[in-house]
């Protein structure tokens, strides 16, 4: 089963001077177990789109089906949807509020109606999976470093055991080390638990390295929706909307122009290495 976005339109502040069309005619199908990257320039509607997926924003027109059920139906339980579709907002560390890290992670599971013991177990498991050392569990979340805070906040959503995990710019403002940790964590969740993961980002490197499908948003509509290799073939068009292909893709294009017969549909450093070795070693032979 899956999430189906059917002709969704969304307009902010409709009927006022500040009216902004944020989404126009979005059609998407997201299957179970997919690992998707949504990329787009600031204001392209990507954050608005993901808030539709767990019912925080109601579409101006169009509907969304979750496992075949219309989520705008009167008797559809939106809270249940939010339990199953976990959403990690941008800068999630800004939503920490409890006196201890452990209690903060328990907040989600407690809201799901679990007992204190069950919620504690969930919190323990989630904190462990994001790599927070046990001696920090009973400290104030406000004393942690930026990267740690973010991992605690992500644990807060993981503890709810969602089937679908959506993350809005999870690496924004982190140093390269912190960024890799978060992305590796997300990939592990996808691989080990079979979670559907939707990663919103504007870093092509992140997206190309990890995801299996890329949705490019521009001015409220879907511009491309394909595997990374295919999407990055359109790197010229991506540039016109303020995005770009990964740096290695450019490198391969330049090498080809200079006369080295490499394939240009390379999107990660590892692939580039293999491709270069293949061409160079092949030449020597």
């Amino acid at each position: 089963m899956s999430i189906i976005v059917d002709k969704v339109n969304y307009v902010y502040s409709e009927g006022t001077a500040y009216e902004i069309k944020a989404l126009s005619d979005i059609n998407l199908k997201i299957e179970d177990g997919e690992f998707i990257g949504i990329i787009g320039h600031t204001g392209s509607g990507k954050s608005t789109l993901i808030q539709h997926l767990n019912g925080l924003i109601k579409a101006t027109s169009g509907t969304i089906y979750f496992h075949g059920q219309d989520i705008y139906d009167k008797d559809f339980d939106l809270r249940e949807l939010r339990n199953r579709v976990g959403l990690v907002f941008q800068y999630p560390e800004h939503q920490l509020f409890e006196t201890t890290i452990f209690d903060d992670v328990c907040f989600g599971p407690m809201n799901q109606g679990l007992t204190k013991e069950e919620a504690g177990l969930r919190a323990f498991e989630a904190l462990k999976s994001v790599g927070i050392p046990e001696e920090l569990y009973y400290q104030s979340p406000f004393d942690l470093s930026g990267g740690q805070k973010r991992r605690v906040a992500i644990a807060g959503v993981l503890a709810m055991k969602p089937e679908v995990l959506i993350l809005d710019e999870p690496t924004a403002g982190l140093d390269p080390g912190g960024r890799d940790e978060i992305l590796d964590l997300i990939t592990r969740m996808h691989r080990e638990r079979g979670m559907t993961v939707i990663l919103v980002s504007h870093s092509m490197e992140d997206v190309a390295k990890y995801v299996k499908r890329i949705i490019v948003m521009n001015q409220g509509s879907v511009m491309f929706d394909d595997v990374p290799k295919e999407v990055f073939k359109h790197y010229k068009e991506l540039e016109t909307i303020g995005l770009a292909a990964p740096q290695v893709t450019y490198l391969m294009h330049e090498l080809r122009e200079k006369g080295l017969p490499v394939s240009t549909d390379v999107t990660t450093v590892a692939e580039a290495r293999a491709e270069l070795l293949r061409v160079l070693l092949g030449e020597r032979r």
């Binding site: 001077a17 925080l56 976990g86 939503q95 907040f107 959503v157």
Partner: protein, 265 residues
Amino acid sequence: MLRDITIGQYYPADSVIHRLDPRVKLFATLIYVISLFCAKGVFGFGISVLFLAVVIRLSKVPFKFMVKGLKAIMILMIITAAFNVFLTPGEVLVSFWIFKITKEGLKNAVMMTARLIFLILGTSIMTLTTTPNQLTDGLEKALRPLNKIKIPVHAIAMMMSIALRFIPILVEETDKIMKAQMARGADFESGNLLKRVKNMIPLLVPLFVSAFRRADDLAMAMEARCYHGGEGRTKMKPLTYARRDYIAYTVIVTFLAVTLLLRWI
């Protein structure tokens, strides 16, 4: 959801009213409020209505947009009207149990409600056609003489403009935190009063933390750009009166004079 608050909001348009000097608009609003409470009789009110209608027309702000602001004070109006209807002594028209409706009461209720409506519409014209920054600029310049009696006018104006600037930011922040906690299963809508207040904690704590963080950042950024208070500070766009501003002053003073005149005739 929180974006739809309209009271005290600026409505961008290009009109004579928008272009007026903010000092003129502040003065005019003050005069209008005074005249509302001086006006007497059908003619007095008629002039107020006419004046307001012309200004609204000139401002190019859709009337529908203004009425939205009225909804917020609906309860206040109903209570005021009810108190006036039941508690004014005079010639009794209807009476049941302990309630009496008097002729004077009805008259007062209608008058008070009308006054309140005009009051809100009149003042919202000012906020709808003036950006908060223009407004504080106007206030600062109009109140400058108070500097002589050691009132820190610049500091007050600066605090006001910062506070106003932060309203939309904090509204957006509230919206964001609320959604983030709702995504974690928080419930802000159901339960009794005590429970609802308790449910606000996950919203209020992050909001306070973020407000303090922002204030700190702003103070740092201002200091880094050598801000040191109002002394010797000049404006990039100093406020100067144009011809239309003098005309507006004349119109508003005439309006007050006519209202007062009608009161005594």
